[in-house]
Amino acid sequence: MAMTLIEKVLARCAGQDRVRSGEVVWVRPDLVTVPEVAFPAYVKRLRGVGFERFADPEKVVVAIDHEVPAHSQAGAERNRLTRQLAREMSVGHMFDSEGITHPLIIERGLVRPGDFVAAADSHTAVIGGAGAVGVPFGFETALLMATGKIWVMVPETIRVTLTGKPRPGVGARDIALATMQHLNETDASYRLLEFTGDGISQIPFWDRMTLCGLCIDIGAKSAVVPADDVACEALAELGVANPEREASDPDAHFVQEVAIDLSTLEPLVSVPPSPTHVRRVSDMRGTAIHHAYLGSCASGTLEDLRAADALLAGHKVKEGVKLLVIPSTRKTYQRAMEEGILARFTDAGATVLAPTCGPCFGGLAQLCAGERRISTSTRNDPGRMGSTEAEIFLGSALTVTASAITGHICGAGDIGKARHDGSV
């Protein structure tokens, strides 16, 4: 009988020939990721109930990525303890200040198409861009590390078929937000989103991470773009040995179908108080901003930095606006430095920092009451970046950069027009 991609993935991890949606199965994930935010607390709790070892330590990835560099004594101690405990527990991979976990494990060739990755952190769905499935489990990840297995309910799959070619200035963020306009949390809850269709070929490999990562904020279990030739070639270059396509069977059952014609999309933005409150950028034009942030696991890729750099060419960040740029991994930072991108950012008035999750959850660059930021990060709940009386808008790297240039929310197309009439 035909199976969806996620049914195939979970059947393999459960050691069964097949599983059906709705079934509860015990699985052994291919990889388990935990940031330093939680790792010491997890180990302490495990030791408190007598679990002294991890079942499959070679599968465990620990990353110091949330408070980098440490800017508090508590953070310094947490990072020190994380390094110590990672050694004591013999984890397979320890990344210290090398980037944000989700893009980092792809960059280091640790993720294969069809893998099942269990994570402590919410936005692990990012890895769906590599054709794998990442699911967050929060504190339960601790027990998973001790026992090596976890129960999961096999989700139903919603197929999102993308067709056509997006217009200039429209990217993966806009496609994710358009998906949110089609699905509410009742549709998405407990379900996996699978993106398919000829429009996928229009989405560069790293942009697919943005597309999948943001779907967790609709309330989906996860999201995936089944690996195609583009993904397999990119993964092979990253050191994945013989990456193979893993896809749903042609006659697999999808619980819901959504079709999006990419050629009809325009730049979109999430407005407070939730990522799912989606508006057209053109409808928000003129909303003044004080801060702009380009980074997080949902952006900060070399492709996003290059696109922002190209848009910024010849412009300065608007006086009174603070543009913060954080490449998502150290390698990305290095490449952007070598290409002169970071120098041009700072020349335009931006501040560039080393890879960290920081601003996304208010761990860095907080906002005070009355301030407004447009950001490429993941969430915009009140208080997410400091004051509950600050406002956060979420948009693509192009939308964020364009807004930083003009000082109000606008799209990349507005910069082109402004360039033409000399108003910027």
Binding site: V49, E67, F139, E140, Y190, P273, S274, P382
Partner: protein, 170 residues
């Protein structure tokens, strides 16, 4: 067996987010005694100050939406609170059970009927709900047995340890 929860009903609206349950500034803190002081402080500070073991949060749709943070459920467990909600997505649903906080999903009718700060009794094992001040009774579907076992054991760690001891008695 888990005894019925008997206490005050604290009603919450639809869409209370994970960040509203406990603000992201506490993301690095996993100490229950600290977290319980901040539970829902932006929504209703009386809950952290006045709620007692046996009290029940009665929430609307899409409870704890947003980041998959464990912190609110660590606080709720430490405070001895139960949870009724109209709906909850998979991440927080799992965390509720894993932390040993009993939960039932309820209908709109039950949600509407239950009054803020009224007296309530909930048997999470059977799904029976009594609105004591109104003299009304309702029923919701109880947790599947394998999840109820985790909650009854006190949470995922305790359940796993008990299972291990059962399989390998000293």
């Amino acid at each position: 067996m888990m005894e019925a929860y008997k206490g005050t009903c604290w009603k919450l609206p639809d869409g209370v987010s994970s960040d509203q349950l406990i603000g992201p500034s506490h993301v690095f803190d996993f100490e229950a005694e600290t977290l319980r002081k901040h539970l829902l402080e932006e929504v209703d500070p009386r809950i952290a100050a006045e709620a007692k073991p046996g009290d029940v949060l009665v929430a609307g749709r899409n409870f704890a939406q947003g980041s998959n943070h464990s912190h609110p459920f660590i606080a709720m467990k430490a405070m001895g609170l139960g949870l009724l909600c109209r709906s909850i997505s998979r991440g927080p649903y799992r965390l509720t059970i894993f932390m040993g906080v009993p939960i039932l999903t309820i209908t709109e009718e039950i949600y509407t009927a239950l009054e803020h700060r009224s007296r309530i009794e909930v048997d999470f094992t059977t799904g029976d709900i009594k609105a004591l001040d109104m003299g009304a009774e309702f029923h919701a579907e109880a947790l599947p047995l394998h999840l109820l076992e985790i909650v009854t054991a006190g949470g995922g760690f305790e359940h796993a340890k008990a299972q291990e001891q059962e399989q390998n008695p000293q």
